[in-house]
């Protein structure tokens, strides 16, 4: 069952020079009980995409498309309706999770302030739950009575994860939560997310990252974005092992591998830079950097082509014109 269905979503940024098309016609669905990965390099629109689901603030503008979350279109909710479902049904662990908690308030006070905003009336009940969850993530329950400044960075990260998931949201967005962490802490975070899923605290997770190796470990299905468009989407195993889009292939081959010295084999990258989203080309947005670019690539936009069970990629090389 689909928890979230995004259809042809267009999120632009209004600038004095025109609209920056950060998310341009993206469709996907997140099913109940799955971890859905979103990957791509900086500026591909992955953060814009997930933030637009939570909160759209100028200069971000919604230019079309739907995002159906449990039957309601997130793009059409009133301010108050949207405020109410955040945290209780749709929550986020932000990129800046280590600094997300107000340094001058005790963690139990922050949690109570938020819970009260969402209609909770029993303070003791909320605090009891908080202590229970803190213990679950291997923090002392005394952390509830502490100020965020009294905790280490890793402890703050875990405390934020507890705060974000306290009210059992159906869908949790984890936005680049592991990007600033060392591998040990990364593992802890990934394990906790799995634990949250297993315990039924959250039903689905959208995991945003630029680290494909990490997605391999956590995501059931994944989507690769490039310049605001979906280039490939499918079950993680298939996308990683049999990438169909040239961009995905290049992205995977640019990952550093263990045991290979840079002197023997140079680290491979993708030449060039992502295009400007202010005035993107009509056709494929990747053709400027694509080693296999065809004549029609600059002018004709490739459509998503089925390359496997539930596995799609948007590239002319795959014979998209037939479908």
């Amino acid at each position: 069952m689909a928890m979230l269905t995004v259809e042809d979503l267009k999120i632009y940024y209004a600038t004095p020079f025109g609209h920056v098309k950060a998310v341009d016609g993206v469709s996907f669905e997140v099913r109940e009980g799955e971890v859905f990965g979103i990957a791509g390099e900086s500026g591909c629109g992955k953060s814009t995409l997930v933030h637009s689901l939570i909160l759209r603030k100028p200069p971000m503008v919604h230019m079309g498309g739907k995002a159906l979350f449990k039957g309601r279109d997130l793009m059409r909710l009133s301010k108050e309706e949207s405020r109410k479902i955040r945290y209780t049904e749709l929550s986020i662990i932000p990129q800046y999770a280590m600094n997300a908690l107000n340094p001058t308030k005790k963690i139990k006070d922050i949690v109570w302030d938020l819970a009260r905003e969402h209609g909770h009336t029993d303070r003791e009940e909320v605090e009891r739950l908080l202590r229970e969850r803190l213990k679950m993530v291997k923090l002392s329950e005394k952390v509830a009575d502490m100020y965020p400044v009294e905790l280490s960075g890793g402890m703050r990260q875990r405390a934020t994860m507890v705060v974000s998931t306290l009210l059992n949201p159906d869908l949790l967005i984890a936005d680049e939560v592991t990007s600033a962490l060392d591998v040990t802490t990364q593992r802890v975070v990934i394990e906790l997310l799995h634990h949250f899923m297993r315990e039924g605290i959250v039903k689905s997770i959208i995991f945003v990252t630029h680290d494909l190796a990490l997605l391999d470990k956590i995501a059931d299905r994944m989507m690769i974005l490039y310049a605001g468009k979906v280039v490939e989407i499918g079950p993680t195993e298939e996308v990683i092992n049999e990438p169909s889009h040239p961009y995905t292939q290049l992205l995977l081959s640019s990952l550093p591998r263990m045991g290979i010295q840079y002197r023997k084999q140079k680290l491979r990258g993708i030449p060039g830079y992502p295009i400007s989203l202010l005035n993107p080309p009509k056709g494929c947005r990747f053709y400027t950097r694509c080693p296999y670019a065809l004549d029609k690539c600059p002018s004709e936009e490739p459509k998503l082509v089925k390359v496997g069970e539930e596995h799609y990629a948007a590239c002319h090389l795959l014979g998209g014109e037939d479908q």
Binding site: I92, N99, A100, H118
Partner: protein, 327 residues
């Protein structure tokens, strides 16, 4: 908790600062050119005979070597004896005791009320761009206006031209300070203009400080997080305000430290009998003891205010508390 150690360290540091500051106070007037006894004798109209000067030097202890004077000064200080004013012919402690209430009567309400009003206006400006556009120029105008200049405008417009309020002294010259209704009425009518001249100007800088802090705090990660988790506007403002007010508390305490002599220019404009006027007169007439005494009060109140912030901050800002328990 290292709170005891923190306190002990603070007390030691403030003790050393106190000794150093008071020593400087003692030394500075003595480094001024000129001889105060000669000045005093000539002011009283008498010919400055060397015998007379010698007599007075002995009275004031100024004929002794410097180290002895210094020692006497500290001994007397601990007996509560601040010396005898050559200018006013009265014990310094009693002069200060009579002047101090006037300073506090003007400055305490001016500082506290302007702090409250300024923070309130600044917080609104920080949150509301439209309102901000109109009020900020006004705040900047107020903040950059010298106190005495605005005081002079008040004297001229309200006092002289309109004649609504008295503008000189702390009470009518034909009254003697007492707790009678006439005196209180006279005192209050004399109080309004100097109070306003400080209050209005002070609002400007408090408001600017608060506005900038609120804008900064509303952009902070923890506010964005609250918003992402569906906090209401009210809750976000509450959290931001709590943190934005912290630097303002420091400012308030520092201002309160300057309370006893923070309005020298204002007191001169309104001819208001506070410590500020005493300091000016003492400096002009080389009244060592009065100058020492007045500065002593200033030093004590500034140090006390700073000490107070250090303690209060440990309670209101967990970041400060965390830093001292660590180190």
């Amino acid at each position: 908790m290292g709170f005891r150690r923190y306190m002990v360290r603070k007390v030691v540091v403030y003790g050393i600062t106190f000794v150093f500051a008071v020593t400087l106070n003692w030394l500075l007037p003595r480094l001024m050119p000129g001889n105060p006894i000669e000045a005093m004798v000539s002011r009283s109209g008498g010919a400055a005979s060397s015998q007379l000067i010698k007599f007075y030097e002995e009275v004031y202890g100024l004929n002794q070597p410097m180290w002895k004077q210094f020692l006497n000064f500290w001994v007397n200080l601990f007996h509560g004896d601040l010396g005898y004013s050559m200018l006013y012919n009265a014990p310094v402690s009693s002069i200060i005791k009579h002047a101090l209430p006037y300073d506090i009567a003007i400055l305490l309400p001016a500082i506290v009320l302007s702090w409250l009003v300024g923070n309130w206006l600044g917080a609104i400006a920080g949150k509301n761009k439209k309102y901000d556009r109109y009020t900020m120029p006004l705040f900047y105008f107020l903040a950059s206006m010298p106190y005495f200049w605005f005081a002079m405008i008040l004297v001229y417009v309200v006092g002289v031209k309109l004649g609504w309020l008295p503008y000189s002294g702390a009470y009518a010259p034909d009254l003697v300070p007492s707790l009678s209704w006439t005196f209180i009425k006279s005192f209050l009518s004399h109080w309004i203009l100097p109070f306003l001249s400080l209050f209005i100007v002070m609002i400007g800088s408090w408001a600017i400080g608060m506005r900038n802090m609120i804008i900064y705090e509303l952009e902070a990660d923890y506010v964005r997080y609250l918003e992402a988790l569906g906090a209401s506007e009210k809750l976000m403002t509450k959290h931001a305000y709590r943190n934005a007010i912290l630097p303002q508390v420091t400012g308030l305490a520092l201002q309160l430290g300057m309370m006893v002599a923070g309005a020298i220019a204002t007191e001169i404009v309104f001819n208001y009998p506070g410590i500020g006027v005493l300091i000016m007169n003492a400096a002009l007439n080389q009244d060592y003891f009065l100058l020492q005494g007045a500065f002593l009060i200033v030093v004590i109140s500034v140090l006390a205010a700073n000490f107070l912030i250090d303690i209060v901050y440990a309670f209101i800002d967990p970041r400060v508390r965390a830093s001292y328990t660590e180190g």
